[in-house]
Symmetry: C2
Subunit: 354 residues, 2 copies
């Protein structure tokens, strides 16, 4: 077995979830990832906890969606909920054998099925929880790599000194928390926004592994200017490329894309909140050096920023509300992030690296 799987499990058990004696753990795998689950089971047992492994391949969920009559598709699994209520830590491992398994499912049923799961998800968020990924051929294919290359990519992003990574994120958070105005400058980009009264969250690897982002929410009505996103946006398997947005007093007034522009416009028109920004995020994971069509990784690419259309996070004191939250990522290798007029990052270097 690849020894990196053991290292990955150690990070999840000891750093992300801080498993203690007596903890009851649930691990969810999709198609693969059993080796990682096994290593987690071992470590949890060593720490004095117990583990239940649930297997939920997207192909199985698709079969359920196709088979269930409309009136049964949102049946709530009371037994699973009862287990989650007694769970201390929940680890979800992306490990699909086919990233398109749910692609052609009935969207009506999918929406019903996802709404049904809301109380489950809320219960999970009350516990220690972490989303992670086990490299599979399907995910490598989505990323445009061989499996070996992709394994190297995933473990380079994941097997990091997270205490050290966290220190960088806390530094960025401190600057943002103190700041009032942010300016993003770059290719075809000049965007200003207020972050006064907002709180930045350092995503140091407790809930996502890999992690590496600091995010906050712009003040409503405050964003002005234009921005060009050189990294594609993936929405349910569709690539939207070369997104350009123009904002006036917090509202998107113009938008374009070189590919799938119609889809972009439809997303922006979802509801009142989807015309506004819900998030400003700064990617800090320099182990992630390329776009792989997987938002767990893409939004954390080192030296990038991302803006989200739609819903803002309450933990940032964000107020914008929307049914959508869609991240769009931009490289900052040739650009600047300014906070209250001072450089936070320039051409991919933090102010303290310049």
């Amino acid at each position: 077995m690849d020894s990196r799987i053991t290292e990955h499990a150690k990070i999840l058990v000891d750093y992300s979830c801080e498993i203690q004696e007596g903890d009851h753990v649930v691990v969810v795998v999709e198609d693969y990832g059993q080796e990682l689950a096994k290593e987690i089971v071992k470590l949890v047992a060593q720490r004095g906890g117990t583990t239940v492994v649930i297997q939920r391949p997207p192909e199985m969920e698709r079969a359920l969606l196709d088979a269930a009559p409309d009136e049964y598709v949102d049946r709530f699994p009371d037994h699973l909920f009862a287990m989650i209520e007694k769970t201390d830590a929940y680890i979800k491992i992306q490990s699909t054998g086919n990233t398109r398994a749910l692609g052609n499912a009935s969207s009506e049923k999918l929406v019903k099925y996802q709404l049904m799961q809301k109380p489950l998800k809320e219960e999970i968020l009350k516990r220690k929880w972490c989303g992670t990924l086990f490299p599979t051929n399907a995910l490598a294919q989505e990323a445009g790599m061989s499996l070996s290359e992709y394994e190297d990519f995933v473990y380079r992003a994941t097997l990091r000194d997270w205490e050290k990574e966290a220190q960088i994120m806390y530094k960025v958070k401190e600057i943002i928390d103190k700041g009032k105005d942010v300016v993003i400058e770059g290719e075809d980009t000049e965007l200003t926004m207020s972050i006064e009264g907002r709180v930045a969250v350092a995503s140091v690897g407790k809930h996502n592994m890999p992690s590496g982002e600091v995010y906050t929410a712009p003040v409503d009505d405050s964003t002005n200017g234009h921005i060009y996103f050189d990294i594609p946006l993936v929405y349910l398997g569709s690539l939207i490329e070369d997104v350009r947005l123009m904002l006036k007093d917090g509202v998107i007034v113009e938008s374009s894309a070189s590919k799938n522009e119609e889809l972009l416009k439809t997303l922006i028109e979802t509801d009142g909140g989807s015309r506004r920004l819900g998030e400003l995020g700064i990617g800090t994971n320099r182990g992630i050096d390329r776009f792989t069509q997987n938002i767990l990784f893409d939004e954390k690419i080192g030296d990038t920023i991302h803006l989200a259309l739609g819903n803002a996070y309450k933990e940032c004191n964000g107020v914008n509300e929307s049914a959508i939250h869609i991240d769009i990522v931009k490289s900052m290798k040739n650009g600047k992030i300014l906070v209250d007029g001072d450089i936070l990052q320039k051409n991919g270097k933090w102010c303290w690296e310049l």
Copy 2:
């Protein structure tokens, strides 16, 4: 996908577990069997139920046993117990990738781990439950067949008209329930026992799939004579061949085997109850025509009987108590089963077939 998997799932969902609207189901797979689990998930969704699939490969349990310190190995999974309490039907699918995965585990830890699971098992037995098997290479290897041959074997035993099979078992049960004395005659065999006051159970496929046996418990002190078992006994991976027993007033007074005789004698000497018989079973599944080292199948081979050393089942009004319950199977193709002097079966034909 092999369409027999769908038929298998239908039997489990509609016949064995009689899944109703609102039922919450737990399916446990080992290494494989995901195709069968998927078909169960589909059918349960169609009936208006929900399903959680747990994956528990023996290799993962072995890793746990090896990793857990002694004081942690019997930690009780409260969260799993909470789920079982809310579960209506529990389906366990044998589907291992290695039948020897637990073979060299610490037997002390294994005993602790199994004792820990007792309340879980008791909770499962209060619900609808069924044990079944998905053919894997490991199980085929254990049975001495290619995977294709083994698949044919498993589905020939499983995809039967269970209503019709049940009618045969109920006929046998009726004869046994009315009877007082049983005589088993055959090669090197002449055994008599009383079954007065005992109840026969027809195992018609509600808890085992495949099923096909009628079993009861002999009256203590009543068994006399000698018996030769032509089908090997498998105990934790060891084959005990050509078992011969001599009984006097219910107690085994002589025993021999052509292979692993010492192990046989050790088993018989486990405790007071292990020197007596806990069960007389009659295999009725003519889809099972050979020994495959798997007791789910072996004890149901058509036209066989089996006796168990040790513990008797309460549902038969059995009283013998022991830590062990070990079935030993004998072909009755050249023999007779007599109840109160009347032939129940002769040379592999029921009395109504003669």
